[in-house]
């Protein structure tokens, strides 16, 4: 009995270790990309008069790159709290769509887990986790590790920047391109048929046009919703034409 129990314990520990390792492996490109952006944010925040502890607080509570950049520039121009919160809300509204997509893969998670998981939903963790869930080699534990490893990288790099990250020259080794390259690869993983290409090109073209027309970054939500809806209608239309019954 005792032996059995220790074996089960060992088994659990092994599983836990594998989850950690797999999560770390999936998260490293995110960390790589966060590092230069986090440093840049820290430097900027420090110049705006924030202490490292204050930078840490923002990175922990908010954990959203572009919103934090905007907030710091608003803070230094003396904007009202209400205005900063409203702007943050609008900038981060796109996560609503991402969480909705992730929900499809988290059907059996309990609400405590979901509430914890929600904290770490960012553009980057969303893209990595969706690609992994698609390959069906992923589970909620690993996805949660990705969220929190990315979060740790963000907090550490922003605080490091706050301590004076200027000594690291900008643009070293093309690291500024890490996130762009990662997003390109993750986009490729999503292209699993003609309808995905069409939806992607449409979303991209709409995003370029809308980003030039409307201020802020609500173009992401608008372009995504419009393109996904058009892609959805097109797919249904083709199915109907071919006489495939869809409920």
């Amino acid at each position: 009995m005792l032996k059995l129990r220790s074996e089960i314990g060992f088994d659990c520990e092994m599983k836990f270790t594998t989850t950690l390792i797999e999560g770390f492996k999936a998260a490293w490109p995110i960390c790589m990309g966060y590092f230069p952006i986090g440093l840049a944010f820290g430097v900027l925040a420090q110049k705006a008069g924030l202490r490292p502890i204050e930078i840490a607080l923002m990175s922990v509570f908010v954990f959203a790159g572009s919103a934090q950049f905007i907030a710091v520039s608003m803070l230094s121009s003396g904007a009202a709290v209400m205005a900063i919160a409203m702007t943050t809300f609008i900038v981060n509204l796109r996560h609503f769509l991402m969480s909705s997509s992730l929900a499809v893969y988290l059907q059996r998670a309990d609400r405590k887990f979901l509430s914890l998981f929600a904290y770490g939903v960012t553009d980057e963790s969303f893209a990595v986790n969706m690609a992994k869930f698609r390959e069906r080699e992923w589970d909620k534990g690993r996805a949660l590790v990705v969220n929190h490893v990315a979060n740790a990288a963000w907090v550490i790099s922003t605080v490091a920047g706050g301590y004076g990250g200027e000594f690291i020259p900008a643009g070293s080794f093309g690291i500024d391109y890490a996130l762009s390259a990662m997003f390109l690869a993750l986009l490729v993983f999503q292209l699993r048929g003609r309808i995905y290409y069409i939806t992607g090109i449409l979303a991209g073209a709409l995003a370029v046009v809308l980003s030039l027309l409307i201020p802020g970054n609500s173009y992401v939500v608008l372009a995504s919703v419009l393109a996904a809806t058009a892609g959805f209608c097109l797919r249904r239309h083709v199915q109907r034409k071919k006489g495939i019954h869809v409920n």
Partner: protein, 107 residues
């Protein structure tokens, strides 16, 4: 700025960021979603990724202007083809960074 006011600012930012992340997970994840919604959500990742990438590659910020041929968009093509060919995330990141570094140096 006072510490209290800063704390209040950061907490309110955190709250309005957390709610859109939390709401769909909390309310959608534990119920059976209709087929049309699943199919629609299936197209959301490719749409969001394309929207983020295209805007990043083909425009400049402040002032927002169309700029189709900048270093990051030129490097994107070989990086994209590499990803298409190898389907390797880590490899694509390394290749993209190296190309960008070289292009920045020599172009």
């Amino acid at each position: 700025m006072s510490t209290d006011r800063y704390l209040f600012t950061v907490l309110s930012m955190g709250l309005v960021t957390y709610i859109p992340r939390w709401f769909p997970l909390f309310f959608l994840a534990r119920r059976r979603l209709p087929q049309w919604l699943i199919e629609w959500l299936d197209l959301i990742p490719v749409a969001i990724l394309s929207a983020l990438i295209f805007a990043d590659l083909f425009t400049t910020q402040s002032p927002g202007r169309l700029d189709l041929f900048q270093i990051k968009s030129l490097v994107a093509l070989p990086t994209f083809l590499f990803a298409l060919k190898t389907r390797s995330l880590g490899g694509t990141v390394i290749v993209g960074m190296s190309l960008y570094w070289l292009a920045d140096k020599f172009l």
